[in-house]
Amino acid sequence: MRRSHAEAALPWIVALALALLWEAVVRCFAVPEFLLPAPSAIGASMAKWWWPLLDSAARTLLNTVLGFALAVAFGLALGVAIGASPLLYRALYPLLIGFNSVPKVAVVPVLVIWFGGGIVPAVITAFLISFFPIVVNVATGIATVEPELRDVLRALGAGRLDIIRKVGLPRAMPYFFASLKVAITVAFVGSIIAETVAGNQGVGHLMLVASSRFDVPLVFAGLVVTGAMGVAMYALAAVLEARTTGWATRGQRDGLGFGA
């Protein structure tokens, strides 16, 4: 019990130690604030600008979650289709890889031309960047159903849909949740890129404005807030994973991540 408490506190202790080290380095070497602000300066900036930060964070979170939700819906559907059909897999996979290799920063201006500024480009960029890992993982889970199991069910008269429903989907769930943890963090990357390049709102926009005014502590405050949101969403995905696919870790609770 004591040990697990200590383990839970460990990330906080490490973060605190890192912040102290950072503070010490900045003070000892008298690093100017516009190069690297000390954590205390970042904290002060957060306190000073708490309302714009909170407002921007809420918008970024909304953009990210919307894009992420789209990615989950499309990714799940496309992953099942590709995993279940070797023909679709062969037809679409190279295309998907090519598409995923395009840097999303390059896509944002196109999205702005199509949809204007505001929320839409950010949501779409978050979606575009986060749906690929979901597709790949779900497809893998569905495609790797054991042949014997497929035979047992097919011999009983099970159709393709039966096999996907009874075996493929439950089997793909651990892969799916693993991909969610990757997808949610990159979804933040997507929405913030779009907000920086095109937006007039969100943390990305806030950081752009702050850096143009050389308010570097505020830029760092934006980074910290984004990181915190990423960790929180990741933890949420990990808890969901532990709840729904505990069988995959064979009941062991000391798996990877933030599992409960």
């Binding site: 054991e146 035979d151 047992v152 011999a155 009983l156 039966d162 089997r171 069988w247 009941g251």
Partner: protein, 267 residues
């Protein structure tokens, strides 16, 4: 034989593709209703292919397969299957794994929800028969390999199949567990009397369990020899150490050895 439950008639199977190997050729056999037949043979002789043909998972390149008086043209729901790998679903309890076929097989899948209690009672009775009473709510990965194979056997039996197809079901188990499961299978067969086709590498297993043992030749596989097992039932493990039993296993061993000699000119 006119009263055959399973009739395989001059079947050939070539795997698809330009360089597809000929797995079976001129393969003919029949199994009477309620009979227990074991198929033995050198590895790679097409025993598993034969299984897949009988269940309708694959179609023969030549010849025909008739089961229960009907030409096999697609998957047969009157068959239950178990393989060397128990392949239970890790996210389902043992009980739910056993019930899985009922969610798929035609007359049951629409009734399952309404008559869940009756079906569950049936599954529990089966699990008790194979010695898994009390393990219904465990997950497969909490069981030993032998226990998983027992559950797999129950899954093969839950929809009361007329035909039980077993592809080396005990091949991955240690000797003691295997011998224990032989007796379990014999008990299941004696109480339920399904027609059984058992593919195995283990000649003692074949002689202990089967009414008749078929020896397959090397690829392309066909039935090279056949021996009727004369020992009365129920057969006990001690019986496997009698001279008569040993002689029969020895004879089959020689037949399998002879069947391994690839005939001249065969690919």
């Amino acid at each position: 034989m006119s009263n055959a439950f399973v009739q395989v008639d001059g079947v050939a199977l070539r795997h698809p593709g330009a360089d597809g190997t000929l797995a079976l050729e001129h393969c003919t056999l029949s199994v009477a209703e309620g009979e227990f037949v074991a198929v033995v043979g050198p590895s790679g002789c097409g025993k598993s292919t034969l299984m897949r043909l009988v269940t309708g998972l694959w179609r023969p390149t030549a010849g025909g397969v008739v089961v229960a008086g009907r030409e096999v043209a697609g998957p047969l729901s009157i068959a239950g299957m178990a393989f060397q790998n128990p392949s239970l679903l890790p996210w389902r309890t043992v009980l739910d794994n056993v019930l899985l076929p009922l969610e798929v097989v035609k007359p049951h899948r629409s009734r399952l929800r309404r008559e869940r209690a009756a079906y569950e009672a049936e599954a529990r009775a089966l699990l008790a028969l194979v010695g898994l009473a009390g393990f219904e709510d465990r997950f497969p990965w909490q069981l030993s390999g032998g226990m998983q194979q027992r559950a797999s056997l129950c899954r093969a039996l839950i929809h009361r199949p007329g035909l039980l197809l077993l592809d080396e079901p005990f091949g991955a188990l240690d000797v003691f567990t295997r011998e224990e499961l032989w007796l379990v299978l014999q008990e299941v067969w004696r109480t339920r009397r399904p027609t059984v086709l058992l593919v195995t590498h283990d000649l003692r297993e074949a002689v202990l369990l089967a009414d008749r043992v078929l020896v397959m030749s090397a690829r392309p596989g066909r039935i090279a020899a056949e021996r009727r097992v004369p020992f009365p039932r129920p057969r006990a493990l001690e019986g496997t150490y009698t001279p008569a039993f040993g002689a029969m296993v020895g004879e089959l061993r020689a037949l399998v050895g002879a069947a391994r000699e690839v005939p001249a000119g065969a690919a």
